[in-house]
């Protein structure tokens, strides 16, 4: 069986954040929830300054601390390498968020419908919209997100945006099971994101890892992430985050 992983080339990433938007469109995530987040860093002092970028999806760790602490088995590791969240099993304890060193878990404090990009259920919006949509209620939802996936047939795609439930990057399981690559990967205009079978030496991800020196985030924690970074354009320890996304920034 394929063991999926991602390789991110920091020398290619321009920090455009198109991957963040592709993820939002594919997975219909509510406001302030970024399954893919691109950090923009600045370091040095004028005029010797440098900026760098770092896309951060879920690391889909082989030794996933989030899965270990989940009391209900909602968070689990699949045979193909994906770390999944069964929205029907999640009780919203947020242990996974506490255990994850990468900050990839997002909790739905609000009803995701109310926290979507426009509150379509507000009377003035619903009224204004009715003639254009023929009564259909946006936001548009990707129907694939409601499906059940894997041999376990569990509800693990983005369809589970519910209040009181945790969510995170799924590596676009609804696409991967169709043989497609995640939305962020296919959208990247400079091919900085690569996705494929890390156990197949002929895959593009394996080829890239052979070609360039790679590292993973906080390898010292022993989490064994399946997201690898290559390239020299890496922020140093003193870098400052700039241009944070999100309305509450």
């Amino acid at each position: 069986m394929a063991r999926h992983g991602m390789v991110i080339d920091l020398d290619k990433c321009t920090g455009c954040r198109a991957c963040m938007e592709a993820c939002k469109v594919e997975n219909n995530t509510p406001q302030a929830i970024f399954w893919m987040y691109v950090f923009r860093f600045e370091e040095g002092e004028f005029p010797d300054t440098r900026i760098s970028f770092m896309p951060r999806p879920c690391m889909h760790c082989d030794n996933a601390p989030c899965a270990k602490v989940c009391p209900t088995g909602a968070r689990y590791k699949r045979d193909d390498g994906l770390v999944a969240t069964d929205v029907d099993k999640c009780i919203g304890c947020r242990y996974c968020a506490a255990a994850c060193p990468y900050g990839v878990n997002y909790f739905n404090w609000k009803d995701p419908k109310a926290n979507h990009y426009l509150d379509w259920s507000a009377p003035e919006n619903a009224k204004a919209l009715a003639p254009a949509t023929g009564g259909a209620v946006p936001p548009y939802k990707n129907p694939d997100l409601e499906g059940r996936y894997g041999k376990e047939q569990r509800k693990i795609a983005g369809g589970g945006h519910r209040q009181g439930v945790i969510e995170k990057c799924t590596f676009c399981v609804q696409r991967v099971e169709k043989g497609l690559k995640p939305a962020c990967v296919v959208t990247c205009p400079v091919f900085a994101l690569q996705f494929g079978d890390l156990d197949d030496s002929a895959s593009p991800v394996s080829a890239l890892l052979r070609k360039k020196r790679s590292f993973r985030l906080r390898e010292d924690f022993g989490t064994e992430p399946r997201v690898h970074y290559v390239g020299k354009a890496r922020a140093s320890a003193g870098a400052r985050q700039i241009e944070r996304a999100g309305r509450t920034a």
């Binding site: 321009t14 455009c16 954040r17 198109a18 963040m20 938007e21 592709a22 939002k24 469109v25 406001q31 302030a32 600045e42 370091e43 040095g44 002092e45 004028f46 005029p47 010797d48 300054t49 900026i51 990009y117 426009l118 959208t187 205009p189 700039i242 241009e243 996304a245 999100g246 309305r247 920034a249």
Partner: protein, 408 residues
């Protein structure tokens, strides 16, 4: 080239130096591989190749000299120059559809640069750099995607026509050169005081098509003051613009490009439309996603990435003013001619990426008609001035102005 910079011509034809024959030959003569550098004697005159003259001209402009002016370290200028030169792959070719073409995969984005005070000169320097590596109109290189035409304001002085008043609203052929343009800011300026500019009428009707002068151009105050004078304003737009909100008597719907079925030309603002006239397809995100001017700040997905206007300020400058990252500040501009001041309140964002003597505000904000665009902060167009003292070479609007920053 002669010593005075003019071409050496024989019978009206420009000459090149043939190093094999040791003589000057007409440019383009068959079998001649012209000398790139050197100085030679033609007739009794000492002449040089154009490249030689250019090389001598730019020899003074060292990275160290430029670093003094622009603040970019000399070593960084060298590194970028070498990067550009290497990546240009001078001499390389590419075969496309069976045609072999020069391949120079280096380019630069210069949109709006001409609308700075020294913008024309900056663009010229930029194009010359790309000419040196052969990247102008080469595959992968800089595109000048229209038939090159010198802007009227850069035509030879002796061809300028200066007529007596009355003038039209654009001040065409007027003594107010170079404040003569059909750009909206000049019209707004002239309309406020037509007699001052030798204009003997005030227009009564305005039709705005797919534009939002009140939000997009400088200065906002000039548009507020002048457009009030129109007796009738019609706005044709795909959405409710700020200009329509303030002034329109009639609003007519416009189709966006993917819905437009009619004949298309540049005057419709649908330039290059043929490339887009394909059936609607899955969304593609292929460019910098944040904003296109202020035309997308009401799109919630994009607005979340860059939610608010900011004043980018160097930390040293901010510290001297007691300003911390995230503080609200006043930014106040001053018109050196009239003494008028204008100010906006905006959030400061500290960045080492900006010069200590400069602050920056992006152009994407300041709309109010769309609920998603409200409260994103002000447009810098409030701060700018239009007209005398504040024009650029190619437009009526200067996108920079001297300001004072203080903690709000």
């Amino acid at each position: 080239m002669n010593g005075d910079g003019s071409f050496v011509r024989v019978d009206g034809k420009e000459q090149v130096w043939d190093p094999v024959a040791g003589t000057a030959q007409p440019a383009g003569a068959k079998g001649v591989d012209p000398a790139l550098e050197g100085d030679f004697t033609v007739g009794c005159a000492r002449v040089k190749t154009a490249f030689q003259l250019f090389k001598e001209h730019v020899a003074r402009s060292t990275p160290e000299w430029a670093a003094q002016i622009c603040g970019v370290p000399a070593e960084a200028i060298r590194r970028i120059g070498l990067d550009l030169g290497r990546n240009a792959m001078i001499g390389s070719t590419i075969t496309l559809d069976g045609v072999t073409l020069p391949y120079r995969p280096v380019s630069v984005m210069a949109y709006h640069m001409a609308q700075q005070e020294q913008g024309f000169q900056a663009i010229r320097a930029m194009i010359m750099t790309f000419m040196l590596v052969g990247a102008v109109e080469a595959v992968g290189g800089v595109r000048i995607d229209f038939t090159w035409k010198i802007h009227g304001n850069h035509d030879k002085f002796e061809t300028l026509k200066i007529k007596d008043p009355p003038y039209n609203l654009y001040l065409a052929d007027s003594k107010f050169f170079p404040i003569n343009s059909n750009n909206s800011g000049v019209v707004a300026k002239v309309m406020q005081n037509p007699s001052k500019y030798g204009v003997d009428f005030t227009p009564e009707v305005l039709i705005v098509h797919m534009a939002n002068p009140l939000g997009s151009f400088a200065s906002q105050q000039d548009f507020l003051d002048s457009y009030k004078k129109f007796k009738f304003v019609a706005v044709i737009d795909p959405w409710l613009s700020e200009t329509a909100d303030y002034f329109a008597d009639v609003i007519l719907p416009a189709a966006t490009i993917e819905k437009y079925e009619g004949p298309i030309n540049a005057a419709d603002q649908y330039v290059s439309a043929t490339t887009l006239r394909v059936p609607p397809m899955k969304p593609l995100f292929f460019k910098l996603v944040e904003f296109k001017q202020s035309r997308s700040s009401f799109i919630p997905l994009l607005a979340e990435l860059a939610p608010e206007q900011r004043l980018e300020i160097n930390p040293k400058t901010a510290k001297a003013k007691g300003v911390k990252d995230g503080d609200m500040v006043w930014v106040e501009s001053h018109n050196a001619l009239t003494g008028e001041t204008r100010k906006v309140k905006v959030r400061a964002r500290l960045s080492e990426g900006i010069r200590p003597d400069t602050v920056g505000m992006p152009h994407h904000y300041g709309l109010w008609t769309h609920p998603e665009a409200k409260a994103q902060g002000p447009t810098p167009n409030i701060l700018f001035f239009t007209g005398e003292g504040y024009v650029t070479n190619t437009a009526d609007q200067s996108f920079q102005v001297k300001v004072r920053v203080s903690k709000a």
